[in-house]
Symmetry: C2
């Protein structure tokens, strides 16, 4: 289907654009009352993830209601460990929780299974994308996504979020073979999963490495980047975005990866990152999500300041982290309007 608005894809490929494309991480979610209405009609978060019609509905909401330049499929990175054999619950106000975790090689066969058909176990994501693409009818591109192997690994080992991630990091020292085995399994399934999303209609895919920043450079190279690179190299059908949150020290290596776009968190300095990364990548980000708590006038100023620091057409505008649930949607509209009015020099 021909896209009427392909700004995001052109920016990702480094092609000419007349203005910067803009979307927000977590745009399909709790900031919108229309999302909450759908969510509250259901038993829980997972029911929404697993119901393609409704997942597609909330995916499209921010396109209609906020005017973003892309729809990102409503889902969760933890559908992958679940498909591999580790069921999770999403506990209100606490986050994800896995009753079982990976402790040894013996757990891999049972709970880190790779010999399954992704369309079989994750068909609800495929369907949600198909419905989204059909209903969008070419208005904007659809973004598919997955968690990075290192981040998924952390959840499969810890069973939940953590302050120190010491269980996950322990294994890197005590059993690197197990770590690589599990990371390879996650990578393999993730590639198949992303290819399924692309086949279903995703125009671009993003890989989220939320816990990149808890590893030092050498360990991130060995246990993080290596698998991100495998994914980036395996996906040739559409542009790929890598978002390695907090991975400052690895930016020179990320610049060499086979992806189109690098996501920047709100603490990264766009001018410095551009110097490190060079001109061959598009940068995505990176307004501090907390900036949207400011007045409309300040949101406009802060957004313009952020745009000024990028100084390159290879820029996809976003926040530096997912939008926080208590942000006023009107502030998001001001952010988006400011980006759309910004004149590219």
């Amino acid at each position: 289907m021909e896209l009427q608005n392909d700004l995001l894809l052109r920016a990702a490929r480094g092609e000419d654009i007349e203005r910067y494309p803009v979307w927000l991480m977590r745009q399909a979610g709790r900031i919108l009352p229309e999302y909450r209405a759908v969510r509250n009609s259901l038993s829980g978060f997972k029911e929404l993830v697993e119901t393609p019609e409704l997942a597609a509905e909330v995916t499209i909401q921010p396109v209609d209601l906020l005017g973003v330049d892309a729809a990102i499929i409503f889902s969760d990175i933890l559908v992958i460990p679940e498909a591999m054999g580790l069921e999770y619950q999403m506990i209100e106000k606490r986050g994800p929780y896995f009753e079982k975790t990976i402790k040894s090689e013996a757990d891999l066969e049972k709970h880190a299974n790779t010999s399954f058909d992704v369309e079989d176990r994750l068909g609800y994501v495929k369907e949600a994308i198909e419905i989204t693409v059909k209903e969008l009818n070419g208005r904007v591109p659809t973004i598919g996504f997955a968690g990075a192997p290192w981040t998924i690994f952390c959840y499969m080992i810890e069973g939940s979020g953590s302050k120190t991630f010491s269980k996950s990091r322990k294994i890197l020292y005590t059993n690197p073979t197990l770590a690589h085995d599990l990371l390879n399994r996650i990578t393999e399934v993730t590639i198949r999963y992303l290819k399924m999303q692309i086949k279903a209609g995703a125009d671009i895919v993003q890989v989220f490495d939320s816990w990149a920043g808890i590893l030092g450079k050498d360990q991130y190279t060995e246990f993080g980047l290596k698998y991100l690179n495998k994914i980036a190299s395996a996906i040739n059908e559409v542009p790929v975005t890598l978002f390695a949150k907090g991975a400052y020290a690895s930016l020179p290596d990320l610049a060499l990866s086979d992806c189109n776009t690098l996501g920047l968190d709100w603490n990264m300095n766009p001018m410095q990152v551009r110097e490190i990364v060079g001109e061959n990548k598009t940068l995505q980000g990176n307004l501090d999500p907390c900036a949207l708590y400011s007045s409309h006038k300040e949101v406009e100023e802060l957004t313009n300041n952020m745009l000024n620091t990028f100084k390159s057409k290879r820029h996809i505008v976003n926040l530096g982290h997912g939008v926080y649930p208590d942000i006023d949607p009107e502030k998001v509209r001001t952010f988006i309007k400011t980006v759309k009015n910004y004149e590219i020099k």
Copy 2:
């Protein structure tokens, strides 16, 4: 009292040392069965903090049992907000919890009080240090400490730990005047508190900015560093160590602060930090605490590798984060022995 082992103080001042001093953040704590025995005889963590004889006992345990080159007083950074009027609970396996938090200017008078005598409200810390110093009898120096204003601010605003610290960061945008007022109050009390610790016998003090890394460079300069610098400048009696975890971007500014030593977290590259910081500061750190999950042989190797990367006499050896509670004390002993056997070139 004359110290028999003043390696830590000499290293902090950049004086000559025959070998590197070594201690561990959180060395007085759950890794030692002897600590757990004392802790379990009491109703809770806070009772231990507030009972000077027992706080002194667990402070000295790692000197006797592990052979570290310094004792750090057993206490908690949250005694400061409590003294200012915000009571906290330490909830087992969850961490600290404040029933009330600072939401507005009106809360400051009630819950961010500064007009009190620190010896009056925090006399138990003074006593614990006095007993520690007396019982150590000059064997090793005693380290006093406090939380950095930015980190204490976060607890007073959030009421607990947080993944995003969005409430704390929100105020920096929506009410910077309130933020600075509260940060000034915390700073003022912290200076008095550290001076009390020094008067009681602390030979060196460390300020922990655990949440430094959640702010971008500009905000950290305005809301973090400014107050760290005030503290470092106000303390002239003993050497000062600043540990701004995750504040990579602010290292050039930290190098200009009026402190003797900068703490490095485990993700910081000591060679790069030395290049940024220059020769005028002692660096403290920074073995990954997870390295202590390895075999004894690997702990020795990893420790030697870490020592090799510092290449300077201005080095106080430590981990890059507090020791994790499930680490085998024998591994800690191997770490310490390796440091003591390391020959300074």
